[in-house]
Amino acid sequence: MSFSTFVTDKAGLQKFYEAIMASQETYAPVEKFGKFDFKRVSALAECDPESPIAKTMSIKPLFFPRTAKVMKFVATSAGTDVSEVDEDPLAVKRVILGVKHCDARSLQVLDKVYNWDYIDTDYQNRRQNTVIISTRCDKADTHCFCTSLDYDVENLDAMDILVVHGTDGKEYIKARTEKGNELLSSDVTRHASPVTEEITAPVLKSQYASFAASFRLKMNYKEVNEKLSKIFDTPEFENVSGNCVSCNTCAFVCPTCHCFKISDEKIKDTGVRYKSYDSCNNGYFTLMAGGHNPRPAKYRRWRQRAMHKFVYYKERFGENLCVGCGKCTISCPVNISIFEVVNQVSAAAMQE
């Protein structure tokens, strides 16, 4: 089945966005303190769908909130009552626009872990109720390496609607899923005109070509993945993690890190159980009550992080966990690049 595609100009694209904001609950990158975070918006002036990738937080919190209330409880001598939290505000029908491809891809990757065995229904609800409008980047950032990984960026189907700034100066709006198609078939596209695949295909192709040519970072994913899976015990991990300050920023900004912790907080008789982000770089992450810690040293935790991104998840779920967005590198106070790390480790391991 083919989905519809529209073409318009810059003003038309803006009108398209505004029309969505007017008719849908919309999230878009909003600038605060020089950083863009996805927030609820009602007008284009509040946000910037073209926010620079280096300054934009991931969309993960819209599906896996930084802190989510698991439940409320009341504990009195009369008994303990556990109640579900009120309606999930993230599960309403909504549109997220200004999403980068890497972010969109991250959801595809996360779907695997949330849908194996126990199905995370909250995540599912949020996913199903969300239409993701992803704009293809025109140029790679210094730390981007999405094209080097195990997924096809050009034909990525992780978004519902794809927006491409055509090399011909026109804006192409292309539905990629049924959900996206449905949205495009409403009157939000009244300022754009339908266009056929024959016309769009070459434009998109040339846009992608120039985008793909702009990457500074390139790696041979297959090789790296293969080598890493064999070198668990390499001392190189100790070298590459030397200047890490264990600040955990990487995990918090990473679009695919999904570790969390559960904590209770109680005031008077009532309490709330929260689920919040956690990071495997924390020394206490695996610390057990008796005092045993399987990963006490920093390099072990670093190894866990790198291996989980590039080996373990792939082994388990068939996808690489890292999507190559470079957010961790940009946020790192000491500029450690995971790209460099995995390359360095696998290269060093080869020499051994």
Binding site: S77, A78, I267, K268
Partner: protein, 657 residues
Amino acid sequence: MARVGVFVCFCGANIADYVDVPQVVEEVKRIKEVKFATEYKYMCSDPGQGMIRDAIVQNKLTSIVVAACSPRMHEKTFRKALSDAGMNPYLLEVANIREHSSWVHQKDKKAATEKAMDLCRMAVAKSIANEQLHEISVPVTKRALVIGGGIAGIQAALDIADARIPVVLVERSPSIGGKMAQLDETFPTLDCAQCILTPKMVDVASHPYIELIPYSEVIELQGFVGNYKVRIKKKASYVNFKTCTGCGACWQKCPVKVPNEYNMGIDKRKAIYTPFPQAVPNKPVIDAEHCTMLTKGKCGICAKVCDKGSIDYTMQDEIIEREIGAVVVATGYDMWDPKPYEEYGVGRFKDIITSLEFERMVSANGPTNGVPIRPSDGKVPKNVVFIKCVGSRDEAKGIEYCSKICCMYTTKHTILLHHKVHDSHAYVFYMDIRAAGKGYEEFVKKAQVDTGTTYLRGRVSKIYKKGDKLMVRGEDAQLGQVVEVEADMVVLATAVSAPKDNPDLARLLGISYDKYGYLSEAHPKLRPVETAKAGIFLAGCTQAPKDIPETVSQASACAAKVCGLFAGDTMKKDPMVSTINNEYCSGCQNCVKVCPYGAIVTDDVPIGHGSKELRTVAKINEGVCQGCGSCVAICRSMAINLAGFTDPQIINEIVSI
């Protein structure tokens, strides 16, 4: 988490009238951890305490909250009840619903009840985080140090020693005895000071439990209650006390004459001397400042005449160290110098003397053989004017406080004058006569009648010389007119002042002193003997002006305190002290800086289990820690907690309402 029992007290009507107690009980019963809650008329009564004991056993309670009066009132009572039920007493929390609720919100029962509920909730929340605490026992060195060998020090030393506790008595001058040894007779009974004092002095010297270290000073005190270490500087006496028999040949032959301090400089002593005939120890010392042998290397007579060879000009100061468990400070007082009273002609007119100079003159062993004489011409005075409150109660020139003993000793002086110079007449200028004390008022009344002394109420404004007489002009407030008295001699009842060196001593001991220089007691009413520093006690005038009976009482009280402290081999101490979690401690030692007691030291511990590498962490000396919590609040690493007031306890209180 815990199993808490809550006991709400009616306090008769005190709480119940203003707080709906049953409602409070119902409310606390709702709290998950509360497994038992009840009310009673008087929780502190025997049946009330019995209820607590029973409930603990029946309900497997792990902590107890009593909602009643202020914990400052009955915390101890209830802790005991817990102990009796076999529970750790520190698992108790008291919710103060009387002083903090029923008594202060009497017009609004609803609000008072709600507040009482919240206070109970807070106490329950805190008690959940309560931990079992155990009284700290600190080993005790059963030896006391007494600083000062006046009557206070003597009495304290004797009382302690009589309890078979070793005492180290340090006296600065060559002999013990202090000011009392300078007195002639004592009010109100007029018994001879020497007669009652010297036997005690001899007792000190011969007591098997007293080590007398005369002619020496305390220079350093380290440690904490029960475990002090004192350093004493024993000044060189140049006389070997071990061989000296006290025969006196040396000082009789010594050619150097020095004003005699014992007699207030009225006569002279020698450069080698015993301060007074009954001195204890009755061994001479050489006054290094004046001895020509020591200053110029010429003389050496004393060494020649001493057939025991006890004189040793090469003797050096000696440092003595003793381990002690408690300190009694009894450094006495100084006579206030009346120099500021220029209008009296102090310093200009020789016949104006101080009361202690008068005391020495009338003393039988004094420089004038017990007869007062005019320093100017040696004549016996007939008209003597006594002026009271010289320096005392005078903010402008002297000191604000009343010196307490002047009224009585002036009265005594009028009697002594009357006894020694039968045809004399005494005039007393006074502000008030303060004669509170057993037999004091009667003593004053009788003296007035017996001696016919003229009492003039008012301050002296001027003294001037008229011929060889002194004209004392003052106001008779009762008549409202100026009076002038012609006097042969004027005696100033100068104020009692704190020893000049008290501030230095206080710093050395780590105790506090007031603006006058008197050492501060822990509490003006209820702990007048203790200082704020545990194990250091105050006796006599070093704390405030006192007469002899009071001084002796306080000295005995000190002895009782010391004996109490030493009653066991170890000393019990409140367990509310700071504790360090080595794992968390970063070793920054900020706590060391803020601890007012020097209770935090450092310790080296292995960096991990079984590691040989060490790192430095803080360590609390439980014996010294007083539990203020200063270190806890500044510890960023959360390594220190104050038992009884831990972070979890206080945070629990905050989030419980």
